[in-house]
Symmetry: C2
Subunit: 429 residues, 2 copies
């Protein structure tokens, strides 16, 4: 997709300017692809047919904040939402992506599914994790609509294909000065079990619990590498500071686990920074810096089969996969694993074989090697999103090529969807 | 136990006075039974051998408070801990008993196991739910000891049999202006399922989820009665206000559930007050006001068998039991039920039969008709508590008669323990 470029870029200052832009683009049949900070890794903000790219960086204000609730504009960086809310009321976002420092809240809600915090709060699609979204439509006379309840599913995680989010109301969680910890284990099963057990400790509040199979820590985590061996599996944790005593008691019961780092008391020459910046998509980003041939999968290992499924995949592809798990609270309240498996890439055919083996075993795949909503999601059209696109974007100008259901309702998902309207690559490419 | 009275009562002002009292009592072999507000319902603060009853009502200060953590003296009422912490830092206790308005924090930790809040945070015995206890021993020269980690089990939930708690450090949760709700259901299984499902909604933060079998609401809840029918089962909920939208969406998906009351928007002539004051032990208290012949059981229905176990007991004793369930997060992170079953009392023999039927089915009983630690708990001696009593109370003067393991290490629990040292009832009684 390297050749995909916009014809022009706009940076509206407010909702009124967004409406003005949409009216003009509608009038002239110009596609509009909305973009936050550009950290999305599914290509979801690439302008497939050129036209207008609309940056929302100037809509960056927190307009209301109280314990449990924030109202914010879409272009506010995740870290800036947190900074504002922590200062104003001692609360922070329930969940955020590992790209917290650079990504926008609008991009996270429009393209994300969960992340740091999902070990406690589950996923964004679950009831209560988004309160309200305000959306502008792409019509001759754009409408401003407010979505709550069941209607949220029409526009959240829709890549901006059926409306432009101009305001978000989200629940907050209490902010603490989280203690960032790294723990090592020599035995893989124990590493998995312990992350799962900690995530199920009712009295120990966590923000993240990641498991990295060896040699991830030694090979890809530069600041951690001096403190681990090749065969050390690593667990990354963020623990509420008032639960550190409880956590240390738990560690005492699990003497095969070794605490190598805690952010509030360590002698590392170079501190590793935020533990969450080793987790979720950042694991792959770090691995790619060392080995550009690496790629990855996104997998869901559901409770109560999560241990078995991980180990089946681990046994099936011992030389090609390196496991990376995130403990998450799944729909129904039980802890399972999201897998962001590192893959030693050989060919596309082999990658497809690996994907199919996961699916055959019962491990749900969210394919990060696809740019459409459906293929990166649950591989079927969401009629709520499609129906709303018919209303809100009758000319199909918003982020074209990203919703298969709009372009080709009979698509059977047997192979990767290639948007026919995509701007052709130049001859020389 | 009506005839049990102390020879005298003391109300120390501070830890130094406690130490002075303990020294004098030790010197003169006087038993000391510590008492909070006297709301305990196991008889755990009754002076079995007379002697000294020590009220801690004057040790009632919150000495430190920050988001996530409070340090408090034992005689502070639960409601006063919350009032202080909410004002000082927007936090409140993770859990408390339904006697929140009248009970002390010291009594709750020394005699309680969990309560309102356990649907999110589990039980007091779990790691992270108590940070530190400061304890004075009953020796010639009383010692002041600080307990954390594994050592907490020596003195928490010990009824003051092996030391006097003089300071508590506890974790806090964020305080919200909880929305108190009542929901009715005509079908019992659906009422159970819905309480369980709500407790497992990751994005909907609850403080309590209670289920009351019909005709509890109509027969015993006076202010609720006008709004329910005899055959209405009732669900009591406290929901974070920023999750009311999510809850209402959930209600829309469950049209057989009927929302009859929400504290932030209702037209009831007389508001019912705190929903938690209908739950936990308050259910029994309310039933007793209407029907003094009622008694109750305390049951644990463990995940994943909780629905089946409840219904087995319901089928076995259709005319004698009225189910009252509290959804709680059990050890291991899964939602199950605590049962505080209302029992239409006939004879002690029949009550014992009912208890035995629960145990035979696999439903753990915490017998509220016993005054000893062991019989009201897991029916075996806790060597950690006994060992510490040997150190801390060598003369066995602290709350005598409450720790069977101290009095009769070979006790087999076949029948109710009757403390031989108990003050005899007067002839005329």
């Amino acid at each position: 997709m390297d050749h995909l470029v916009a014809d022009f870029v706009v940076r509206p200052k407010d909702e009124a300017e967004i409406i003005e832009i949409l009216k003009v683009c509608y009038e002239h049949d110009v596609p509009v692809t909305t973009r936050g900070a550009g950290t999305g890794n599914y290509g979801q903000a690439m302008p497939m047919r050129g036209g207008c790219v609309m940056h929302l960086k100037h809509l960056d204000q927190v307009t209301h904040c109280e314990p449990g609730r924030v109202i914010v504009q879409p272009g506010c960086l995740l870290k800036d939402v947190d900074a504002h809310c922590i200062a104003a009321c001692g609360h922070e976002l329930r969940m955020f992506s590992s790209t917290w420092a650079t990504a926008t809240i609008g991009g996270f809600i429009a393209g994300g599914s969960g992340g740091v915090g999902s070990v406690t709060w589950g996923s964004l699609r679950e009831l209560g994790n988004i309160i309200r979204l305000r959306v502008v439509t792409m019509e001759k006379e754009p409408r401003i609509l407010e979505f709550t309840g069941e209607e949220l599913a029409r526009v959240s995680h829709a890549y901006g294909t059926n409306g432009i989010i101009t305001e978000l109301e989200l629940p907050l969680a209490p902010a603490y000065d989280w203690t960032h910890c790294f723990v090592t284990a020599k035995d893989w099963d124990r590493a998995m079990e312990c992350a799962d057990a900690l995530a199920n400790e009712n009295g120990i509040l966590l923000k993240i619990a990641s498991v990295y199979e060896a040699p991830t820590a030694k090979a890809y985590f530069q600041r951690v590498a001096p403190y681990v061996a090749d065969d050390d599996h690593l667990i990354g944790l963020m623990i509420a500071p008032h639960n550190m005593e409880g956590f240390l008691t738990w560690m005492g019961r699990n003497p095969d686990m070794k605490l190598i780092y805690r952010s509030d008391d360590h002698d590392w020459a170079r501190a590793p920074g935020h533990v969450f910046e080793y987790g979720w998509n950042h694991t792959t980003l770090r691995a790619l810096k060392v080995d550009p041939s690496i790629t990855y999968l996104q997998v869901r290992y559901g409770f109560p089969d999560h241990f078995r499924l991980v180990n089946e995949m681990r046994a099936a592809f011992p030389d090609e996969l390196i496991q990376h798990l995130e403990a998450i609270r799944m729909e129904g309240g039980k802890i399972g694993f999201a897998g962001l498996t590192l893959v030693k890439f050989t060919t596309e055919e082999r990658l497809d074989e690996i994907v199919k083996a996961h699916e055959a075993a019962g491990a749900l795949i969210f394919n990060p090697h696809r740019y459409t909503l459906e293929e990166g999601g649950r591989q079927h059209a969401d009629p709520r999103q499609l129906d709303f696109k018919k209303e809100a974007d009758p000319k199909g100008l918003l982020n074209p090529g990203k919703m298969i259901a709009w372009d080709d309702p009979d698509w059977d998902y047997a192979k990767m969807y290639a948007y026919p309207g995509m701007t052709k690559a130049p001859e020389s490419a």
